[in-house]
Amino acid sequence: MNWNWGSKRMGKVFFLLLVREARLMFRRPGELVNPLVFFAIVISLFPLAVGPESQLLRTLSPGLVWVAALLAVLLSLDGLFRSDFEDGSLEQWVVSPHPLGVLVLAKVLAHWLFSGLPLVLLSPVLALMLGLPTDHIPVLLVSLLLGTPILSLLGAVGAALTVGLKRGGILLTLLILPLYIPVLILGSGVLQAALQGLPTLGFLLWMGSMLMLAITLTPLAIAAGIKISVGE
């Protein structure tokens, strides 16, 4: 595989793919909103389930926000490669001269920009509703900014492996949720630490290094998964 990043063409293809994804997304704005509504509904279920006591909700808020964000990302991942698989775009990617890893990276980046990033932007509102103190909002934002791309990248591995299956949705969650656990632990851990007044930088650095690891390694696994699904 020739990873020639220096060539102008590769960069152009990457950019063109991003534009294509953006155009496709904005033609179906409903799909942009769905994960956000899901996120909001799941968050508002918890006070109804555990009671409106504000002290309890504040203690639980880091975990609640993270679990809800994780499920919302997972929900949006099911369709990540589906339409491209059905209309044959994925086959064209596989036979194209460009490295598949870079193409899928563009795809996942677009997915994160249009479903992960809105979640991050919505999260402060919901966290405030759960009673998270305002001065911890920046920590929440940074942790979600570092964490949700990892969720998108790891989830794309599962989406690539299950795209050819009729009922891939529940299988996808089964494959991917165990792999999400470190992100969940670190992401809610950083907020717990902030609530207890402990330093948070170490957690964030850990999440940053996990993000780097995910960006480096997962495109290879996603590409392998797509080749398997397309070849079937």
């Binding site: 591995v157 492996l161 299950t162 050819g164 299956l165 009922r167 891939g168 299988l171 089964l174 494959l175 949720l177 165990p178 792999l179 656990i181 470190p182 632990i185 670190l186 851990g189 717990q192 630490a193 996990m210 390694l217 997962t218 696994a221 392998a224 998964g225 398997i228 699904s229 070849g231 079937e232």
Partner: protein, 251 residues
């Protein structure tokens, strides 16, 4: 180094023949080791000065937990071999290992829960090791489910291989993050790890049990693989001859 043995592994027929010769040896070793370890561990070894006789479940729990972890790693190695060298035997080994590994993880969790009741006073605590084993069980379920969901045999094998490799990269991260999580939430954790150092009369039977479990795994895996090979190669003449010889009638 001579690599002929590795290239020969590419041939299911050769593997079938050689595994037929290993199987009796491994079975005898497994039975002897397990019998010696069980009798020694359950009857002869001295009772623990703190836990009394309840610690004896360790002789099942610890080998099962060992095996659950090493089976996953061996599956990832098989997956890598299958992806790189396109070796059918590695695919078969990966898929046939997964249920054994899941059972081992389940046994480790079950015995852990039974052991936890008299020792910690609860069947389940969110201890780092227990939680990591539970996640490992979920990872096994994922691989089994993926293998069953994909109908094409080769695609299923390759998909499982990719997932196993991704999982094995994640396992250390999961393990350390879970340990970290545990120290965050429960500073005064139950110290299963800081046991008083065991006398030889306690750890030798444990060692026998661990070795016995590994031999047992090898026996079950080889038997499952041989069956799967017969199923996959059922159209070839050597399998027909083999089946005719085994059953005594024309297949």
């Amino acid at each position: 180094m001579n690599w002929t043995w590795f290239h020969r592994l590419g041939s299911p027929k050769w593997f079938y023949g050689i595994s037929g010769r290993w199987l009796p040896l491994l079975s005898v070793a497994a039975v002897l080791l397990l019998a010696a370890g069980l009798v020694w561990g359950l009857a002869i070894a001295p009772a623990d000065y703190q836990q009394g006789n309840s610690f004896r479940i360790m002789y099942i729990h610890v080998p099962a937990a060992f095996l659950a972890q090493s089976i996953y790693v061996s599956m990832a190695i098989c997956g890598l071999v299958g992806l790189v060298w396109k070796m059918k035997i590695a695919d078969v080994a990966l898929q046939q290992s997964a249920p054994i590994g899941a059972w081992m993880a389940f046994i480790a969790l079950l015995t852990g829960a039974i052991w936890g009741k008299p020792t910690w006073g609860a069947y389940w605590v969110w201890d780092a090791r227990l939680t990591a084993m539970l996640i490992l069980l979920f990872l096994y379920f994922g691989i089994i489910a993926l293998g069953q969901a994909i109908s094409n045999r080769d695609s299923a094998a390759r998909a499982c291989a990719v997932l196993a490799v991704v999982g094995v990269v994640n396992i250390p991260i999961i393990k350390y993050s879970v340990e970290w999580w545990n120290t965050l939430h429960q500073p005064a954790s139950f110290t299963l790890t800081e046991k008083p150092s065991m006398p030889a009369s306690m750890w030798i039977p444990l060692l026998l049990m661990v070795l016995g479990f590994y031999c047992f795994y090898a026996v079950v895996l080889l038997m499952r693989m041989r069956l799967e090979i017969l199923r996959r190669e059922s159209r070839t003449s050597w399998v027909r001859a083999e089946v005719t010889q085994l059953t005594g009638r024309k297949s």
